[in-house]
């Protein structure tokens, strides 16, 4: 009787362990499947034309304008999000570490981190695209700058969070030593703490870039898309994710190859960035422990 119960428990245990191994294999299988098909189709479609020709509606072109547009908008987005994010993260870590306001903002920042990006796109449409169109009587409506603002909203919470975390990792003795020398708080923050945490904060910016570079939904109604080369941020602007979206939506299968090529570029970029950032963060964290 006792033996029977024990055998039963062991069988249940074995089954559970085998199933959990299968679950892990399943997860890895999907990762390999997605990466493999992207590599396979993307490499087959890779061509110098991609970098020299612009996108064409319903016909084979290139991705030159999409690559340039993505670079321009990602850069502007980082230029907007980085100072604001670092400042907000510093406020949370240094000034509002234990306050109620700090707790609320930290909490809402975590929610913004996973808020639906398409709604952020609608928000930027309402506060940037519509007013600009009204002010200029429709000359400027959808624009690269609007797209960049939407992307900045997506990168912002990532930077806020890593800055907050990284500053809290700086040892208290460093703060106390500086304060005991009579240094004002703002100098302590910018010249001592920021310097100690700079590599961690930079990693946060890279993670934000990895996050916003692949976003499509918020760009649809802000930067819109453009089949011409545009470098002026006040013009409608194409981007890699939106170009992939358009090429994928096209019924012509010849264009799907272009979508795969774009997918390969964006996936390699994003994965390389986030792998590097994670590796760096990991090294940094273990150095502090």
């Amino acid at each position: 009787m006792v033996v029977a119960i024990y055998t039963h428990r062991r069988i249940v245990n074995l089954l559970a362990l085998i199933l959990s191994g299968c679950a892990t294999l399943l997860g890895l299988l999907f990762l390999a499947w997605i990466l493999w098909t992207t590599l396979q189709h993307g490499l087959a479609a890779l061509d110098i034309k991609l970098f020299t020709k612009v996108t064409v509606q319903g016909a084979e072109g290139g991705l030159a304008n999409a690559i340039v547009g993505s670079l321009v908008m990602d850069t502007i987005a980082l230029v907007i999000a980085t100072p604001i994010g670092i400042a907000a993260g510093t406020f949370l870590a240094e000034y509002a570490h234990r306050s109620k306001l700090g707790a609320i903002i930290r909490f809402l920042n975590d929610i913004l981190l996973s808020a639906p990006s398409i709604v952020l796109g609608l928000f930027v449409y309402a506060i940037v695209v519509l007013p600009m169109s009204n002010l200029t009587h429709g000359v400027v409506s959808f624009s690269g700058i609007a797209g960049a603002i939407a992307l900045a909203l997506i990168g912002l919470p990532v930077i806020v969070r890593t800055t907050d975390e990284m500053l809290q990792l700086v040892p208290a003795s460093l703060r106390e030593a500086a304060l005991s020398l009579g240094i004002p708080q703002w100098k302590l923050t910018t010249q001592v703490l920021m310097r100690a945490a700079v590599s961690g904060i930079a990693t946060g910016v890279l993670l934000a870039l990895a996050r916003l570079a692949g976003e499509t939904a918020p760009l649809l109604f802000t930067a819109f898309g453009n089949n011409f080369m545009a470098t002026n941020p006040l013009d409608k602007m194409e981007s890699l994710p939106v170009a992939i979206y358009q090429y994928t939506n096209d019924p012509n299968p010849a264009l799907h190859a272009m979508a795969w090529a774009g997918a390969l570029l964006i996936t390699l970029f994003v994965l390389a960035l986030s792998l590097f950032a994670r590796w760096y963060l990991h090294r940094h964290r273990s150095a502090h422990d």
């Binding site: 428990r9 249940v12 245990n13 362990l17 959990s20 679950a23 892990t24 997860g27 890895l28 999907f30 990762l31 499947w33 997605i34 098909t37 992207t38 604001i84 994010g85 400042a87 907000a88 406020f91 000034y95 509002a96 609320i104 903002i105 975590d110 929610i111 996973s114 808020a115 639906p116 990006s117 398409i118 709604v119 952020l120 609608l122 928000f123 309402a126 909203l153 912002l156 919470p157 806020v160 004002p184 708080q185 703002w186 923050t189 990895a210 692949g214 499509t216 939904a217 649809l220 819109f224 994710p241 992939i244 994928t248 799907h256 979508a259 997918a263 964006i266 986030s274 792998l275 994670r278």
Partner: protein, 322 residues
């Protein structure tokens, strides 16, 4: 000679005054930036509420209960997209919760130390793949695959009374079930990361003592680890749900874009986010207002879900005294 008139003390007090002034400004600037986070969330809610006011208040309950989505007649009922969003997210949860629990169990209890790092890094990589790639892969690779699988599903599960209705439909690969599976793969790494993290916070003492009493790994997991981390696990699940509800690009291609509410999971459908993505740029007037109203609903629902998620996650942190 009084102290305050000494030139050294005077410069010192002047300097501390200037410093205090700078400090106050520095603090105010930082605070303003931090408040921008608040403003972004509040702005997103208010701007979608304002943009969708004509339909939200004009159509009233009809907007939520009706399945009519007719831009030509300016009649908008959002039941089909709401239904699609909820059902695809539910399928994603049903599939992803046990799988991510299994992976977290494997990573914290079973895998040898040298395997943990690489495997958890690989699972986390799933989270960094852009959603448009999920969408493309879903449409070009996974939909044809599902088209092969679905006839078999119809012949086996479809024969069972009651449940059978769910798998009774055209086996074309596109549809609610496929979208749910793609979503499951997408939210898997988020839930898995939370579970793995909280499982590793369980004190080794607790686990070791129950092992010493003769409990198997599975029993330790169910009776010690899960009760200890329950609120955080639920928080992680809600975090995944929040992601699934708001996801756009991964589901837009594979849903099939049809305004219908059906009992069959093999039928094409639509979701709130994919309706907005597909139609917003062509919509004018009331149609646009209806889409923005949909966005407002999505925002409110995901906000509530993420709020619960964060509160649950907070609970465990407080329990530990952090």
């Amino acid at each position: 000679m009084s102290l305050s008139s000494s030139p050294a003390v005077e410069t010192a007090s002047l300097r501390s005054e200037v410093d205090a002034h700078h400090d106050a400004w520095f603090r105010r600037t930082l605070k303003a930036c931090a408040l921008l986070v608040l403003a972004a969330l509040l702005g997103a809610a208010l701007s979608t509420l304002w943009g969708g006011r004509e339909v939200l208040f004009g159509h009233g309950l009809h907007f939520i209960t009706s399945t009519a989505w007719n831009p030509a007649a300016n009649d908008y009922g959002a039941l089909a997209p709401i239904f699609g969003t909820l059902v695809t997210s539910l399928i994603a949860l049903i599939l992803a919760v046990p799988t991510s629990f299994g992976i977290a169990l494997f990573l914290t209890e079973i895998a040898p130390a040298w395997l943990r790092g690489p495997v958890s890094a690989a699972i986390e990589l799933l989270a960094s793949i852009p959603s448009i790639i999920y969408g493309m892969w879903g449409l070009f690779v996974f939909v044809p695959f599902m088209a092969h699988i679905e006839p078999a599903l119809g012949n086996t599960l479809g024969r069972i009374p009651l449940i059978g209705k769910l798998f009774d439909g055209p086996p074309i690969g596109l549809g609610i079930l496929t979208a749910g599976i793609v979503l499951a793969v997408m939210i898997l790494p988020f839930m898995c990361a939370v579970m793995r993290e909280v499982f590793s916070t369980v004190p080794a003492r607790l686990k070791e003592s129950s092992h010493a009493l003769g409990a198997t790994t599975w029993e330790v997991m169910c009776d010690i680890v899960l009760p200890y981390t329950r609120s955080a696990v639920i928080g992680g699940i809600f975090l995944g749900l929040g992601r699934a509800l708001g996801e756009t690009m991964a589901v837009t291609f594979v849903l099939g874009n049809a305004y219908s509410v059906t009992t069959s999971l093999l039928m094409p459908g639509t979701s709130i986010s994919s309706s907005i993505a597909n139609e917003f740029n062509e919509a004018v007037g009331l149609h646009r207002s209806a889409l923005i109203a949909l966005g407002f609903q999505l925002f409110v629902v995901t906000f509530a879900v993420l709020l619960i998620a964060r509160l649950m996650l907070h609970r465990l942190a407080r329990l530990e005294g952090n």
